[in-house]
């Protein structure tokens, strides 16, 4: 399938927050650089980091105007130089700071993408590379939780909080309240 020259995307135009996030129809479709894969976005994940970026308070985040979003899932349509183990046609979920995931196409580093679990849709896989990894890293290597301990999860209704709740329960460490 041919790749168009332009695409629909959400562009953040100021540091005034999501109120200045605008849909544009003529964003150039990115060309994947070395080590990157270009995917046709089927679903993009929204994260609290997107809010921080829209206010300019995300360390190392993009400066406006920029295409927003950093988590996307979809089908690889082409790969940049030096990409091994990922071919066009594969369906992946991945992250890329400043990649512009809120768009019809986005280029992600291949090393921060993984194949969709068998049988999962793009939408169902959102959160694996952001929320689940964050929750697991916080609980195990950094938090060193053990069975019987109590875990306090602030923002438990969010996607990371839900992941932390599920994995805490699995570790028999949580008393959820």
């Amino acid at each position: 399938m041919s790749i168009p020259a332009t695409m629909r995307a959400l562009q953040q135009t100021t540091l005034n927050g999501p109120q200045d996030l605008r849909l544009i129809a003529d964003a150039p479709v990115p060309v994947p650089g070395p080590g990157e894969v270009l995917i046709r976005v089927a679903a993009a994940g929204v994260n609290f980091g997107d809010i921080l970026q829209a206010h300019g308070t995300f360390p190392g985040g993009p400066r406006p105007p920029y295409l927003a979003g950093f988590e996307a899932a979809g089908e690889i349509v082409t790969t940049g130089d030096g990409v091994t183990g990922m071919e066009p046609g594969a369906h992946v979920i991945g992250v890329g700071l400043g990649c512009g995931a809120f768009a019809e196409y986005t280029a992600l580093p291949a090393v921060s993408a993984m194949p969709l679990p068998p049988g999962w849709t793009a939408q169902e896989a959102l959160g694996l590379m952001v929320n689940w990894l964050t929750a697991l890293a916080a609980l195990r290597p950094l938090g060193a939780i053990a069975a019987g301990q109590t875990v306090l999860i602030p923002a438990a209704a969010g996607a990371t909080g839900q992941a932390a709740g599920s994995s805490s329960t699995a570790a028999q460490a949580a008393r959820l309240r």
Partner: protein
């Protein structure tokens, strides 16, 4: 903050985490997390998500609702 202060004056510590920074600075930890994630999927702890879907054009609305703490769980934009 010195080691002495950490040991004798501030014995309760807060550890921060940004997963993107962790993946770059400690890839071996990130690799272990990927392996644990695969194990948790196989064990049925991690199951397919059911995010609330928004059209791409409604992205500003989705972000505003997230910022207003009016949402639960994952949000998805569908181009």
């Amino acid at each position: 903050m010195t080691n002495c202060e950490l040991i004798y004056k501030h014995q309760v510590h807060v550890i921060g985490l940004n997963i993107g920074v962790l993946m770059r600075s400690a890839p071996q930890v990130a690799g272990a997390m990927m392996a644990e994630m695969a194990a948790l999927m196989a064990a049925g702890v991690i199951t397919p998500g059911r995010p609330a879907g928004y059209e791409l054009a409604d992205g500003p609305k989705a972000l505003a609702e997230l910022e207003a703490r009016a949402t639960v769980g994952k949000l998805a934009l569908l181009p």
